[in-house]
């Protein structure tokens, strides 16, 4: 069965290559190939897991390149973490692929879209299955490339093209730190294989010495970029310029999860004695979560609300990792993948029904017109808001419980209160969207004439809705827990026991979480039932304006980072033009040119000259051979 993981990994790549090279013109075949590859991957994942079980901890390797003594294996790491992620990626991606068939049906770049989608799936699976840093980094960059291609898919629209560039470049900043961190790890530990590294650090936790914090933070830089944490969060909302399924795939379910996944994968590097990396990570995560949640409350674009909610939830997960809670982080990541994909796809359904209208203040009264979409969206909202018994409740609760387990009381209550606050805000802005979009009067003609989406789009919604509902109780957390804390007790609970488990284990956290959600719901209900415009700006004044303009981060970066960057670029340009091109290359080129001009005198076209030179050459050879 060992070939199955390889197959899972490379099928999407094959699909991408085939589409790009051969089937560009055949839309259906292209889509079929792409969907087939990812669905086959999903089925193979199930097959593989069912045959070899969850309790794997192996690597499949093949030598990829060797330079001297330095070998890099191309390897797949198979353990519950990667298997679960594989299942998640192929599953969510599969659903989104199918949904795309309907959503993108009229797009001229249909085949190209599916090729990019396959490439993205391949890259994401590569990240998930990598067993070493180099491979991980390469797939990391591939994800960046494919997200660039997908975000900028409608490249004829300047906004989309700019968003693609922004996503790519912002990610570069994080990756810059990431690769330095990788090099640092390699320089100090001499290995890049996760298993080796873990083993070494387990044997000698102080192997990194004083560099522990630095290395951890540098590697965290990668996650900051990819998971859009503060201060590199600015690209994610813009990236909503891509097609909505892409938003769902990249910016909700998978790509941004890569950062969190990576942190969990290399947790052994962060959780070292004498390293403060985790604290910083938790702080960054918490701050991002709060910031994003606040901004989300005053966004009017449905996808931007969801984007900021994604940011906020990612911050939640990162915070959880920072609080040493890998299980809660991955648990929340998994459930979040379900309900955020659901929310995005439902939003896509709405957007499509309203002919690409994304402003929530031009929607309204869609509950009757789009019943399936309404119910699925509500399911997603409930899950995101953490309402029992939806999946979000369980995962959010574990995070809150994790916060309560902190030894340091300041940290403990700080993060716990932060978590509850964010939960309340989350519930508020999500229900704001629900009330504005689905109830009240129809605020535009488009909303008045909206109709339900085709079933090829609705079925993925239904599937995801089901998973959003039950995702918290099917044992995902148990799986992660067994991997991350092998020493702790195994959960053996029936379904109904699981439903009530949070109240038994951490009643304080569960209760407060539920209360926060309820508070958010009521606030939204009070403010947003049957209103034509947002009443909040009047009440909050300039704060609202600040939030609506995303706290002016873009403008800030524009004024500082980008201006500095421009200056630097101008300097580099000058250097390039005058020093490198003018002096270095110019000298070489001029020298070559001069020599060439001299030598071309020899190429006179005169037979005698050639014969003469030839004879001289012969004489020279003879001189060396004979004398």
């Amino acid at each position: 069965m060992n070939f199955l993981p390889w197959l899972i990994l490379f099928l999407p790549l094959c699909a991408c290559a085939t589409i790009t090279l051969f089937t560009q013109r055949d839309r259906k075949l292209s889509a079929g190939l792409s969907i087939g590859a990812v669905v086959a991957g999903f089925l193979f994942s199930i097959l593989f897991i069912s045959s070899s079980g969850w309790n794997l901890n192996t690597e499949l390797t093949t030598t990829w390149l060797s330079v001297g003594d330095f070998h890099i294996d191309f390897g797949l790491r198979l353990d519950p973490l990667s298997l679960m992620m594989t299942l998640l990626v192929t599953g969510v991606a599969g659903v989104i692929h199918i949904y795309s068939w309907g959503y993108m049906a009229d797009d001229p770049g249909f085949s190209r879209y599916f090729a990019c989608l396959s490439l993205f799936t391949f890259s994401m699976l590569g990240i998930v299955l990598s067993n070493n840093f180099i491979q991980l980094f390469i797939f990391w960059e591939l994800v960046g490339v494919s997200s660039y291609l997908l975000v900028g898919f409608w490249f004829e629209r300047p906004a989309a093209a700019d968003a693609g560039k922004k996503a790519f470049i912002t990610n570069r900043l994080g990756d810059f730190g990431f690769i330095i961190g990788i090099l640092l790890v390699w320089a100090t530990l001499g290995s890049l294989n996760f298993g080796d590294l873990e083993h070494k650090l387990h044997a000698d936790p102080s192997a990194l010495g004083a560099m522990a914090t630095t290395a951890g933070l540098l590697i965290f830089c990668g996650a900051v970029g990819k998971s859009a944490q503060f201060p590199l969060h600015v690209w994610l909302p813009d990236a909503m310029e891509g097609p909505t399924p892409v938003s769902a795939l990249i910016h909700a379910a998978t790509m941004v999860a890569a950062g969190v996944y990576m942190l969990c994968r290399v947790f052994f590097l962060l959780n070292l004695p004498g390293s403060n990396a985790l604290t910083v990570i938790a702080a960054v995560g918490g701050f991002t979560a709060l910031l994003a949640a606040l901004i989300a409350t005053q966004q009017n674009d449905i996808k931007r609300v969801l984007a900021y909610s994604t940011l906020s939830q990612l911050g939640y997960m990162v915070m959880s990792v920072g609080l040493q809670g890998r299980t809660p982080a991955m648990f929340h990541l998994t459930t979040h993948a379900f309900f955020k994909a659901l929310l995005f796809l439902s939003a896509g359904s709405i957007i499509l029904a309203l002919h690409h209208e994304q402003n929530i203040w031009k929607m309204g009264a869609l509950r009757k017109k789009m019943p399936v979409t309404f119910w699925t969206f509500v399911a997603g909202t409930l899950a995101l808001a953490g309402v029992w018994p939806f999946s979000g409740f369980f995962s959010k609760d574990t995070i809150l419980a994790q916060a309560l387990e902190q030894p340091n009381p300041a940290l403990r209550y700080g993060f716990f209160i932060l978590g509850v606050l964010i939960a309340a805000i989350t519930a508020f802005y999500m229900f704001r969207v629900v009330f504005v979009v689905f109830s009240g009067p129809a605020r535009s003609d488009g909303a008045g004439h909206a109709a339900e989406s085709p079933s090829v789009m609705l079925w993925p919604l239904r599937i995801l809705a089901v998973f959003s509902l039950i995702g918290g109780v099917i044992g995902v957390d148990a799986l992660y827990n067994k991997m991350f804390e092998p020493l702790s007790d195994e959960f053996h609970y029936a379904l109904w026991q699981r439903l009530l488990l949070p109240f038994a284990e951490a009643p304080f956290a569960a209760t407060l979480g539920l209360l926060a959600a309820a508070a958010g719901f009521f606030a939204a209900y009070r403010l947003y039932t049957n209103v034509l415009t947002d009443p909040l700006p009047e009440k909050l004044g300039s704060t609202s304006q600040w939030l609506r303009d995303r706290l002016y981060f873009d403008e800030l970066y524009e004024a500082t980072v980008i201006r500095f960057h421009d200056r630097l670029a101008a300097l580099a340009n000058w250097f390039e033009r005058w020093i490198i091109e003018g002096f270095c290359i110019g000298l070489v080129r001029g020298g070559t040119d001069l020599t060439g001009r001299m030598l071309r005198q020899v190429q006179s076209g005169n037979l005698q000259t050639y014969a003469f030179l030839f004879a001289l050459g012969v004489a020279l050879v003879l001189y060396f051979v004979l004398l």
Binding site: S604, N606, A615
Partner: protein, 101 residues
């Protein structure tokens, strides 16, 4: 003093160099070609002399091949010259400088 290998080799070298001199100095393609033939013949002479003074017929077989190849080469070369003349109305090396840069 009996005539030895060296005598023949000296003749061969001089013949070769006369041919080479012709190739370099003359400008008529046909005469240049004749210079080439002289050089080939010089090689033939050297080979036959070696064959004779080493008690080995291989050298002569070689000469046989050289003569054959030379015949083929002359045929093709002269055909080229004729074709060239048809095109350019000249067989002077000075006038044929298309290869000049």
């Amino acid at each position: 003093m009996t005539i030895g290998l060296n005598h023949y080799l000296v003749v061969s070298i001089m013949l070769f160099c006369v041919g080479l001199f012709g190739v370099i100095v003359r400008r008529n393609l046909l005469v240049i070609y004749m210079g080439l033939e002289l050089m080939l013949n010089a090689a033939n002479l050297a080979l036959v002399a070696f064959s004779r003074f080493n008690d080995n017929l291989d050298g002569q077989v070689f000469v046989f091949f050289i003569i054959t190849v030379a015949a083929a080469e002359v045929a093709v070369g002269l055909a080229l010259i004729v074709a060239l003349y048809r095109k350019r109305q000249t067989v002077h090396a000075e006038d044929l400088t298309t290869l000049r840069l």
